[in-house]
């Protein structure tokens, strides 16, 4: 409640500056591709965690919200040649609205039904997209990167910076929520929803807020994706990898603190980028799944939890 915001804000500014600087110094495109994925997972994990870790409601349909962002971009690029900021806002808004709608239908029931609804939602969205020819259906759709872009040598570096800014935005939002009275209300809902309601917390309203913000974040993570991947089909847009990683990264990193999803995304994301070169992507995902189960059983408060426990024992 009392810490100064200055260190955090300075940190954000420094990282942004470093990012810009890097694009001027390093030419090897591979690093930008890899960093984009890790940054994307920071956004997805942080977004997931606002509803999952802070509020206690688990979204298993992250792939669906991500794909909403991606496919909204496809539609806007195809129809209007819309610029990146519009794509991001529209993708986020669409995903946020779907989150709000799902929440409105299910958040008055036991938390489990929200989770099941998100799982089923992702599958249904995939069905819709597969049947929608305008966005390519099952055949997929091509999105061509512009040859030139302001300030940057190429579009990939631009995408990297876009995702870096989105990641910083996501983390800053989570940090803001966490240290505010709204964040405390969400924690109260997670700890004991009945008691929270009895203590004056408008639980339904806060849950809908968290769902919308969370959905928005997952949508903005997906908005630049068609440009990143250039060929988008339902299999890649709704990939299994998003589903498990967005849940595993916060759970492994730590769900009660904004830094947890970041640690999880950086560690797991980087490891997977390195590993995909050497082992198959299926084995990759299997390991993530196993890590998820192990951490959930053995270290429920994640890596951050392991550190705070050690500190508490010393104190």
């Amino acid at each position: 409640m009392k810490k100064s915001p200055l260190p955090f804000l300075i940190g954000i500014a420094v990282i942004a500056a470093l990012g810009f600087g890097a694009t001027k110094l390093f030419g090897n495109q591979y690093y930008y591709f890899a960093a984009y994925v890790v940054l994307q997972y920071i956004v997805l994990s942080t977004g997931w965690n606002i509803l999952g870790g802070y509020t206690g409601y688990v979204n298993f349909g992250v792939a669906g919200f991500f794909a909403i962002g991606a496919y909204t971009s496809v539609v806007l690029v195809k129809t209007f040649h819309a610029p990146m900021p519009v794509l991001i806002l529209a993708g986020g808004a669409a995903a946020g609205l779907i989150g709000l709608g799902t929440g409105y239908l299910t958040l008055r029931l036991k938390g489990v039904f929200f989770s099941i609804a998100t799982l089923a939602l992702a599958i249904v969205l995939q069905t819709f997209v597969t049947n929608w020819d305008y966005v390519g259906g099952s055949r997929g759709v091509y999105t061509i990167r512009p040859k030139t872009v302001l300030f940057f040598d190429n579009y990939v570096e631009f995408l990297f910076i876009v995702m870096l800014l989105l990641a910083l935005f996501a983390v800053a939002t989570a940090w803001l929520i966490e240290r505010s009275w709204i964040g405390r209300g969400l924690s109260a809902i997670r700890d004991d929803e009945v008691a929270a309601e009895a203590m004056g917390v408008p639980t339904l309203r806060l849950k809908l807020f968290a769902t919308t913000v969370s959905g928005f974040m997952m949508g903005i993570a997906g908005a630049p994706y068609p440009y990143y991947v250039t060929y988008l089909d339902p299999a890649s847009g709704f990939s299994l990898a998003y589903a498990v990683n967005s849940v595993a990264m916060p759970l492994i990193g730590g769900t009660t603190h904004w830094f947890g999803p970041v640690i999880g995304a950086v560690l797991l994301g980087t490891a997977q980028q390195v590993a995909t070169v050497t082992i198959s992507s299926a084995v990759n995902l299997l390991i993530v799944g196993i890590l998820l189960v192990v951490f959930v059983v053995v270290a429920p408060e994640g890596i951050i939890g392991l550190f705070t426990k050690r500190n508490r024992k010393r104190a």
């Binding site: 999952g52 206690g56 688990v58 298993f60 239908l105 299910t106 958040l107 008055r108 029931l109 036991k110 938390g111 489990v112 039904f113 989770s115 099941i116 609804a117 799982l119 089923a120 939602l121 599958i123 249904v124 069905t127 819709f128 597969t130 049947n131 929803e193 009945v194 299994l240 589903a243 498990v244 849940v247 595993a248 759970l251 769900t255 299926a282 084995v283 995902l285 299997l286 799944g289 196993i290 998820l292 189960v293 959930v296 059983v297 429920p300």
Partner: protein, 289 residues
């Protein structure tokens, strides 16, 4: 719209529905009666399907027989899974996020393990009745739908008898109906729940073998069943085996009609749509605290 088409769609829907009930009854027990959100249930079903495939291909054994023979193995496996779940989560009162994430992880590990072992191609079994059918006038009744239907109904009937007439069965019902009272009396229903969960997974062995008789399978189709299974369970009143059967018929017929008149790719959306509808109308048993 021809009457023949309608008739065939109806019959196919009912037969499919019977099978869906077999898939769902495991959830009716685990989720409806024991409040364990085992979203990994489809993974166990897929495991059953692939075991049936493997043994059938290697030894030529009838798939239904495989499913029944392996049911005790799945039963034990289910008890082990419950033990882990209980020790890690239920005992500490943390079923909500952690338990869900646990089962999600299991679902995921299941699917990916199957992909690694068997690949992503469609697999099917061979049996003399697959491909055969009988004709009741204009209605064709494929054996690959009819036999699973029969087996499903028999399995559900046996379960219903078990729950109503045996000691353990009634103990399971008691646990489901008076969870709170049992908790307040510090009685430990864990033993009963362990057996019940084992039973729930045991049904997956049979359901899996039926699934691969009905049609070819590949590891990811388990996910299509998640929405269906919970939709049927909720629609059927959560704790009732007959309710599960009726709800399964409804969803089976709805899917069959949609598939016949609009195309098969919309089937997963039907169950989900119905689930949302049911949740929106909100029967009292679902209200959150």
């Amino acid at each position: 719209m021809s009457l023949d088409l309608l008739g065939n769609a109806l019959v196919a829907g009912l037969l499919l529905g019977g099978f869906y009930a077999a898939v769902t009854v495991g959830i009716t027990i685990a989720f409806g009666m024991l409040d364990i959100v085992n979203i990994a249930h489809p993974a166990f079903i897929m495991l059953g399907s692939f075991i049936a495939y493997f043994v059938n291909q290697a030894f030529g054994v009838d798939p239904i027989a495989i499913g029944v023979v392996f049911a005790p193995v799945f039963f034990v496996f289910g008890m082990v899974v419950y033990r882990i779940y209980y020790t890690a989560f239920e005992r500490r009162g943390q079923e909500s996020i952690r338990g869900l994430a646990f089962f999600f992880g299991v679902l995921f590990i299941g699917e990916v393990s199957l992909i690694l072992t068997f690949g992503v191609d469609y697999r099917s079994v061979e049996a003399p009745y697959i491909g055969a059918g009988i004709n009741l006038g204009p209605i064709g009744v494929p054996m690959r739908l009819f036999l699973p239907f029969v087996v499903s109904v028999v399995m559900l009937g046996l379960l219903q008898l078990f729950l109503g007439r045996t000691f353990f069965g009634r103990a399971i019902k008691a646990v489901s109906q008076d969870r709170l009272a049992l908790q307040l009396m510090a009685a430990n229903p864990a033993r009963i729940k362990e057996l019940a969960f084992g039973l729930s997974i045991g049904t997956a062995s049979v359901a899996g073998s039926l699934l691969i008789i009905i049609g070819p399978v590949e590891p990811s189709i388990g996910r299509d069943y998640i929405g269906r299974v919970f939709a049927i369970c909720v629609l059927g009143g959560m704790t009732s085996v007959p309710g599960t059967l009726i709800a399964a018929f409804i969803i089976g017929v709805a899917e069959s009609f949609t598939s016949t008149f609009y195309g098969p790719s919309w089937s997963p959306a039907i169950a989900f749509g119905l689930l949302l509808l049911v949740l929106a109308v909100r029967p009292a048993g679902l209200l959150g605290r």
